[in-house]
Symmetry: C2
Subunit: 363 residues, 2 copies
Amino acid sequence: MSDDLQKALAGVRAEIDGIDAELLNLLNQRARCAQKVGEIKAEHGEAGHIYRPEREAQVLRRLQDANPGPLPNEGITFFFREVMSACLSLEQPLGVAFLGPLGTFSESAATKHFGHAARLLPQASIDDVFREVESAHAHYAVVPVENSTEGAVGRTMDLLLGSSLKICGEVVLRIHQNLLSNETDLSKITKVYSHAQSLAQCHEWLNRVLPNAQRISVGSNAQAAQKASEEAGVAAIAGEAAATRYSLPRLAENIEDEPNNTTRFLILGKHDAGPSGRDKTSLIMSAPNRTGALYELLLPFSHTGVSLSRLESRPARHALWEYVFYVDIDGHRDDPTVKAALDELAGRAAYLKILGSYPVAVY
Amino acid sequence: MSDDLQKALAGVRAEIDGIDAELLNLLNQRARCAQKVGEIKAEHGEAGHIYRPEREAQVLRRLQDANPGPLPNEGITFFFREVMSACLSLEQPLGVAFLGPLGTFSESAATKHFGHAARLLPQASIDDVFREVESAHAHYAVVPVENSTEGAVGRTMDLLLGSSLKICGEVVLRIHQNLLSNETDLSKITKVYSHAQSLAQCHEWLNRVLPNAQRISVGSNAQAAQKASEEAGVAAIAGEAAATRYSLPRLAENIEDEPNNTTRFLILGKHDAGPSGRDKTSLIMSAPNRTGALYELLLPFSHTGVSLSRLESRPARHALWEYVFYVDIDGHRDDPTVKAALDELAGRAAYLKILGSYPVAVY
């Protein structure tokens, strides 16, 4: 490196060193504040309630709004989650149960929400994930609840019906599709394997970039990746997890036509969250099996002007009702309009269970 | 939550909010400085050399030395790595090849060194990892080179002999052993499966905690974990990766008698690193096959007072020499004493290849 360059860099590096020293002190000052919060709570007999999802959401939203750049909001959110995670774990490291093994989207969701200082507890099934928190082996659970292309995760929804756990947060993960192949040249690809849904998701991209390649649908994207790892001239459409599992290079990334392919996860705990200013409330309701029953159940929301962001029906496993309805509404159950809607609903529904109020996913 | 508690918390939270606002501005100020560094380098025709391993090591060491707590040095190092990773990726996101799949120790090493803003490129073999960087598909490679219990990673050492890549860094990962079982009570464990080496590593712990359990050695810890996932009354000794792969709860953690079970990884790139103040130099040397040859090769180090931190012999695959020696020495090849030793060595060795000088692992 030239002396000229060295000299030019020295000034900027001194500036960076000064900033780092300030960052170091502020991070520790913040950690001491977090310790103080823990002490105050302990004095008031609330030592168990260290983690406040609503407070965390507020902090992150405020920082995103205030972020002047050049660091993107995603990076800023990542840091501050990690800062809060580290500060929290000085008090009480959080145990977080999720559907294992490692390298799944559930693990990404858990880390995205709780940061790297949390203790991850992978489980063999969604049932086990619920059980870990119910039996107090873990503080929180992370479970998938719906995918924007594949729809609801039935097992999670069925377990929510019977569980005592509350929803205290949600995480939305964007799911990307990639073209995976050991070939290094697109012109060598003669066959593309994937799940029919994934092929459909990348339809336009395939028309444009690989118009002559044969498209073959298989049972899963992982199966497609396996084929691509074994045969020449073959590519698979699959996500990050399959790419890493079969060590397949990504010949093209983010090839989905619709860029909003997401999976939504719920955070479950013993309590739901306080109001954060931008919240959702989830509930399960049912009515006797007669004409107009669902319509009547929706009236309270219409009366009070509360918006439904999701309505999903599932066959009931009791004899009493034919269907149960899973509903997400905008707002916190402590908001006056939401409270009014829920009070009215309680009078009409044969069955009503409030799963919890929680902050809308921060990013 | 009581009003009293709310009031007590309000003051601390206001303080935290103030700190967060300062952190936000400093992080972005730092990112702007990093952009300035990029611009200065581009003006001097050095745009390709954005990542400076020696500078990163210096920054992290200084921050560790200055850290007043309560945040542990490990947490501080994690943050600042991530800050540097994010700042760097504003300029040029680094592509990092490693031995896949995801969830391996190699991936942990790559993320530990390059942060989450780096682009991870999992490969099917160590050969492929080298090739990705040699062919400029990736900027850097992360390869395992030795394990404190299992010894050298032969394939990496053989490839280093023929490759044009330089070592520009090292990462040391601590490897922990856990007792994995679906049983929730230690008294239910009648058999413990593991690799013989792992059983030996946890010998004292087993004597103390499970004196009556039968110890059965199997081919690998993963195989042991599989047995534990299938049979009642069985536990396995294995690492994190096997725990997550077989979704086995950890009945006990960090049970290794010797707490220093580590794996060392090398970071490879097109260049090695400049001096950071605490460096290592790795080299490969060989001598004609005659009595006293190794002794003669070691003389230059003894003459100059340069310490060897590692010496490993491997059978040569050429006919000319019987053995090649892999040597790590303390110091940078630009340090006068190291330079003198290497100059003297060049005159004595039949074969000498300097693999690179690089900062000693930061944590």
